[in-house]
């Protein structure tokens, strides 16, 4: 019997609320010692990523989040049979337990900030034009150097300005967070793409900090999301059997692939 997995919770109790997941199937908890794996039974082969099944999956995880600490499981993870499921939970019990304790009563919030990169660069160019330093453009090589240098100066100032804003904002948000991952300038316009781990008790302070930044930096655009289950803050040790979080798995896989490229036969 195929069991579609939504998350690992810090309880061995049955779920009181009636929750329905993929294929409209009932969602229930398979306990293991003092934790549990929340599943529903699926019959069809998994169809692939569609808007509706993704949102159905997420809706289940969010309902669980109201009553339990949830370690959300990646979309489209299904396990063949209860025995296999229990073996899996057994082999990762310590990791699951550690994460559930560490993440108890904490939620993830996402903050994204867009800034007007083009306008910022225009202003930088204006300021730099007033600079007295002029480079020679007497030859092709010199023109190349001049052009590259101008680009270099613009980029450097652009990065400096970005870092200034990011630092100010991050300091404000971090005050009420116990964890964070801050992505900087993923695109020219996407100044900040960050997630913060915030204790329930500090949620209002955190939201206020966000509102404060919004009001003191009106030229930017803002996106605030959450509370989410702690997708970005689950940490699983690679040594613990097979279970790896996505990032650790990525490094592991790159090593494998580099070695296979180099003709190595085993790790």
């Amino acid at each position: 019997m195929k069991l579609y997995l939504y998350g690992i919770i810090d309880s061995s109790d049955q779920i009181k609320e009636s929750i329905y997941g993929l294929e409209g199937a009932g969602v229930y908890n398979i306990p293991y010692y003092n934790i549990g794996a929340v599943v529903s039974e699926i019959n069809q082969p998994i169809q692939g990523v569609t808007e509706s099944n993704v949102l159905e999956h997420e809706a289940v995880v969010e309902k669980l989040m109201k009553d339990f600490t949830v370690l959300p499981v990646r979309f489209q993870t299904a396990i063949d049979g209860r025995d296999n499921l229990l073996s899996m939970v057994q082999s990762y019990y310590k990791d699951f337990k550690d994460n559930l304790e560490r993440l108890y009563n904490k939620f993830e919030f996402g903050i994204k900030v867009i800034w007007p990169a083009d306008k910022i660069k225009e202003n930088i160019v204006k300021v730099l034009k007033t600079n007295k330093q002029k480079m020679s453009d007497a030859s092709a090589s010199k023109r190349f150097m001049k052009e590259r240098f101008e680009k270099y100066k613009i980029d450097k100032e652009f990065q400096t300005k970005a870092n200034k804003f990011i630092k100010v904002m991050d300091i404000f948000f971090s005050r009420f967070a116990t964890g964070k991952k801050v992505g900087k300038l993923k695109t020219e316009n996407l100044l900040i793409d960050a997630v913060y781990l915030v204790e329930k008790a500090k949620e209002n302070n955190f939201r206020e900090a966000f509102e404060h930044i919004k009001s003191t930096h009106p030229g930017f655009k803002y996106l605030f999301s959450g509370p989410w289950p702690p997708y970005n803050f689950v940490v699983l040790s690679p040594k613990s059997g097979l279970l790896q979080n996505a990032e650790q798995a990525d490094i592991f896989d790159k090593v494998i692939r580099c070695q296979s490229l180099a003709g190595a036969e085993s790790i």
Partner: protein
């Protein structure tokens, strides 16, 4: 749908655009398929050469900024950098690789370049 209540923004389309751009910008994983191993190797090698070229260029710019290059040195460094760049373009063409493909995703460390 609960999810609809937890994302708040005054500029949904701009964020949708930037999010997609940031995801598309991720360099593809190196393909370990034996048929494509040669291309995979070329990608790896050219990525590293490109990294070195960019570092050299950045070093040169720092020296221009510091004013520590003579007129003649600017000329020579400029010529060298130009040649390096055109050589890279040649190599990219030979292996059918685009600039965006010459990058490595180092997981939590971000992209190489």
């Amino acid at each position: 749908m609960i999810a609809n209540e937890i994302v708040e923004t005054d500029s949904p389309e701009e964020f949708a655009e930037e999010i997609q751009k940031s995801q598309n910008a991720l360099p593809p994983k190196i393909d370990a398929n034996p048929k494509n191993v040669e291309k995979g190797l070329a990608k790896l090698v050219l990525t590293l050469i490109e990294l070195i070229r960019k570092l050299l260029e950045r070093q040169a710019m720092k020296r221009v900024e510091a004013g520590s290059l003579s007129d003649e040195e600017v000329e020579r460094v400029g010529e060298t950098l130009m040649k390096l760049e055109s050589k890279m373009e040649e190599l990219k063409e030979i292996f059918g690789l685009k600039s965006e493909e010459l990058n490595l995703n180092l997981g939590p460390l971000g992209d190489l370049m």
